[in-house]
């Protein structure tokens, strides 16, 4: 996908020039950095002063060549932040609203209604009025509606932003499923790192309308610039682990993070898919320079400090311990322990600090 556009906004100018090719591309940045404007421009809902948008060799917009396809012909499915379900139509009518485009545009590939309903688990909602849906249900219906218009590209604008934390955790797996099942390229706007790390293959970091970094999420987010741009958001580590065994009496589950590295996380049943994702906040990891003894924490993992970034009394460390862990400490702790890059440390993590995604 090629994306070059310049849009003057009230306080700054959105000016992006980027080419990328990923299953899920996250657009990551603080609120008011022009993310929604960018999605609107891709969907054809907003005028672009100058630029070019191309998906799979198909030009949607080109100021030089005078091309500007209307939204109807762009083949772009859009799930806006608030869901924007049609309040006077039932869930069923909302979902099939875009199906007519398939006939006209030929569609990307055959997506069956039944399949979408199953994947998003919304079959039981079909005959309900949309005004009677919960926030999480409404978002799933909005995603289904967009998918069933058989788009060539799916735009998701902070689909989880309006949901509370508990609900977020339950909806995120649905989006992972959508990514894996429907093979529609997605552009996912968010200011939440957990979402970037668990969904995206590529991330574009935007600030004040400018692209400040891009790359594979783990790599791109490593730069101090990105790390310290996190507002109220908690910085979380997300790992894919495989189930080993669990012990109900002890309240623990053993998972493998990497060959030779195991973690204890809170008890859960053996999942259907042995590979799943867990997360731990960068603020919930303790760094020790010696192997601590007589300690309640279930995980003491040896590792090597790779990087230390300091800013405003905070320190962001990346520690390699089978995988890269992000650890946020005070700058004081770094100097007190004389931490520096390449030294051996132990990461101390309570079992209960891990959460299933």
């Amino acid at each position: 996908m090629k994306l070059r556009c310049r849009i003057p906004l009230a306080t700054f100018e959105l000016n992006i020039d980027v080419t990328f090719d990923a299953r899920v591309t996250a657009i990551f940045g603080p609120s008011g950095s022009g993310k929604t404007t960018l999605l609107d421009a891709i969907a054809g809902l907003r005028a672009i002063a100058d630029g070019e948008i191309e998906i799979d060799g198909r030009v949607l917009f080109s100021s030089a060549r005078g091309i500007n396809l209307p939204p109807q012909q762009r083949g772009v499915g859009y799930v806006p932040q608030e869901g924007a379900l049609f309040p006077h139509l039932s869930v069923r009518k909302n979902i099939i609203f875009g199906a007519e485009r398939v006939m006209r545009a030929g569609g990307s590939r055959d997506i069956k209604l039944d399949y979408v309903l199953d994947i998003l688990e919304i079959r039981s909602l079909l005959n309900r009025p949309v005004t009677k849906l919960s926030g999480g249900e409404a978002q799933r219906v909005a995603v289904a509606r967009a998918i069933l218009s058989r788009p060539r590209l799916l735009l998701l604008d902070e689909p989880l932003a309006a949901l509370d934390i508990g609900l977020k955790e339950r909806i995120l797996p649905y989006l992972v499923r959508v990514r894996d099942e429907f093979k529609i390229p997605m552009i996912y706007v968010t200011h939440n790192l957990t979402e970037v790390l668990s969904l995206a293959d590529w991330v574009l970091m935007i600030q004040q309308g400018k692209l400040v970094a891009q790359g594979i999420p783990r790599e791109a987010l490593r730069s101090a610039h990105a790390l310290f741009q996190l507002p109220e958001d908690r910085f979380e580590n997300v790992f894919t682990v495989s189930f080993m065994d669990s012990n109900r009496a002890a309240g623990t589950t053993r998972v493998r993070l990497a060959p030779g590295t195991e973690l204890l996380i809170p008890y859960s049943e053996r999942p259907a898919n042995p590979n799943f994702e867990i997360r731990i906040s960068a603020d919930d990891i303790i760094v020790a320079t010696q192997n601590p003894e007589g300690i309640s924490a279930g995980n003491v993992v040896p590792g090597t400090i790779r990087t230390i970034d300091l800013l405003d009394g905070q320190a962001m460390l990346t520690v390699f311990a089978g995988e890269d862990f992000y650890v946020r400490l005070t700058a004081g702790a770094v100097s007190r322990l004389a931490l520096r890059e390449e030294i051996q440390v132990f990461l101390v993590m309570k079992t209960r600090s891990f959460h299933l995604l």
Binding site: D40, A43, G44, L45, P70, P71, Q72, R74, V76, G77, Y78, P80, E82, A84, F86, P87, H88, F97, G98, E100, R101, R104, A105, P129, T131, K132, R145, A146, S149
Partner: protein, 224 residues
Amino acid sequence: MIFSFETWQITLFSISVGLASTLLILPFGISLAWLFARKEWPLKSVLETIVLLPLVMPPVSTGLILLKIFGRRSPLGQWLYERGIEIVFNWKGVLIAMSVMSFPLLVRSVRTSFAEVNPRLEQIAATLGASPLRIFFVITMPLAYKGIVAGALLAFSRALGEFGATILLAGNIPGQTQTLSLAIYNFVQLGKDSEAYTLLGITVALAFLFVWCSEWLLRSGKRT
């Protein structure tokens, strides 16, 4: 109480021409209201002001303007006359006067209800492949439904109450252009109080019916 033929005739005439005027302005009013609510163009505010003018101008002045426009000595009146259409001093004059006078009320009410429809819904409908026409009829209109009904009822009530513009453009000809309002005035002038009170009763009953109807429609229009 048994109404005289004359009373029936006046009532029926008022209602049917009022209804016709409302139906006549509905498509124009809805289109214009949508344009006002959704589109921008140079000098838009000038057109908005012109449309609202009959609402604030003395109805008699509007009637005089209409008389100048449609009178046989004006180019338009002449042109219509040559084709056998005469507006002034017959029921068509009543229709025009009612339409022009109630148009601003309709446009205002519908415009507000269009403005209250979240444009995001229309945009998303467009990304789902819906043509502008389908968006209008499947998304915008149903969501603005209440305002359109309220606006139509308001316009109809205004049409029935029309007096000033009607008397100038169509005159006050019993059996031909005499509406309820004109007839009441006429009967009072002639000292025929009982006839005037009969018609007064009818207008009160009609007003009651409209208010009741609109309330009922709005309540039933509230979909869950």
